[in-house]
């Protein structure tokens, strides 16, 4: 199925904290997955620099990626808002500062399936 069939561009929110160094790699991964899946998307970047902004955006750490409002990693989405790097637990049990690529791909498939 063409992920763009009958649908407008997916809305993606990309939230990041400047003091955490993971956002360039995360942005590159996001754009790479969009190219790979040939998905039309509208990316809105949110730079989170204060605790008040973290609270207002329910920002659990950097990077946070939401597709059509849904966090790509529901496990960590509800963590206390904080100005820090976000921990992602990979399938093999390791903790990493970036989401696993397969998690991002899966999130895109869920988002597009939900719209069909």
């Amino acid at each position: 199925m063409d992920l763009n069939d009958r649908n407008p561009a997916l809305k993606i929110d990309f939230l990041w904290y400047p003091e955490c160094p993971s956002h360039p790699q995360a942005r590159e991964m996001l754009k790479g997955v969009l190219r790979e899946l040939d998905v039309e998307a509208e990316i809105t970047e949110h730079v989170v620099e204060t605790q008040a902004e973290a609270d207002a955006l329910a920002f659990p750490g950097s990077p946070t990626i939401r597709i059509e409002g849904a966090d790509i990693d529901s496990d960590g989405a509800g963590s206390r808002p904080a100005l820090t790097c976000r921990t992602y637990r990979w399938k093999d049990g390791r903790f990493q500062p970036l989401p696993e690529r397969s998690l991002l791909v899966s999130a895109f498939h869920k988002a597009t399936e939900a719209r069909v």
């Binding site: 003091e19 955490c20 160094p21 820090t84 790097c85 921990t87 390791r94």
Partner: protein
């Protein structure tokens, strides 16, 4: 804040450990090399490198290299980094190295540490010989350069490490 420069003498510390003991620079004076790692519980970079740091502590213990981990984060804002949480983590992971709590953050400031994890390697005279990364990738499956291990080997051989400075990658230390 700049880190201490190469060949600087290690700043003193005297900090409580998760093992219930107090650990000081003077107390570690006899070992052939000393690794001080600023780290913490909550940061994913610290978590990603944690096992490799603990392995270095185990691997070099019998070669008389001391490794200590220090958490200087503001535990009020980051409760995962509290002393109690440190004790739980050290127990759960069976830390083979002292895990010290720098509540006042004075030790991190004295070293000029900025990230977690961030490594300082001192020789037997406690002169700084290497500063920065443990290795070149937080993803252990992609590591090509074992900066800290290579620097320890060089110091134990009485040589200059091939790499003396790398830019630490990790979370910023959470200041009060």
């Amino acid at each position: 804040m700049a880190a201490i420069s190469l060949r600087s003498i290690a700043p003193a510390f005297d900090l409580p450990g998760t093992d219930g003991a107090t650990h000081s620079l003077d107390g570690l004076a006899s070992s052939k090399a000393l690794v001080v790692v600023f780290t913490c519980n909550h940061c994913p970079y610290a978590k990603a490198w944690e096992d490799r740091i603990l392995d270095i502590g185990r691997d070099y213990k019998e070669r008389d290299v001391s490794v200590v981990a220090i958490n200087s984060n503001n535990a009020v804002e980051y409760p995962e980094d509290s002393f109690d949480a440190m004790k739980e983590r050290a127990t759960a992971k069976n830390y083979p190295i002292p895990y010290l709590y720098d509540e006042s953050q004075a030790v991190a400031r004295a070293y000029g540490a900025e990230r977690t994890p961030e490594v300082f390697l001192f020789d037997a005279d406690r002169n700084l010989r290497y500063h920065g990364l443990v290795d070149d990738d937080q993803d252990d499956s992609k590591v090509k350069n074992q900066y800290l291990r290579d620097a320890i080997e060089a110091v134990l051989d009485g040589k200059d490490p091939a790499e003396t400075q790398t830019a630490a990658v990790g979370c910023t230390i959470k200041w009060k």
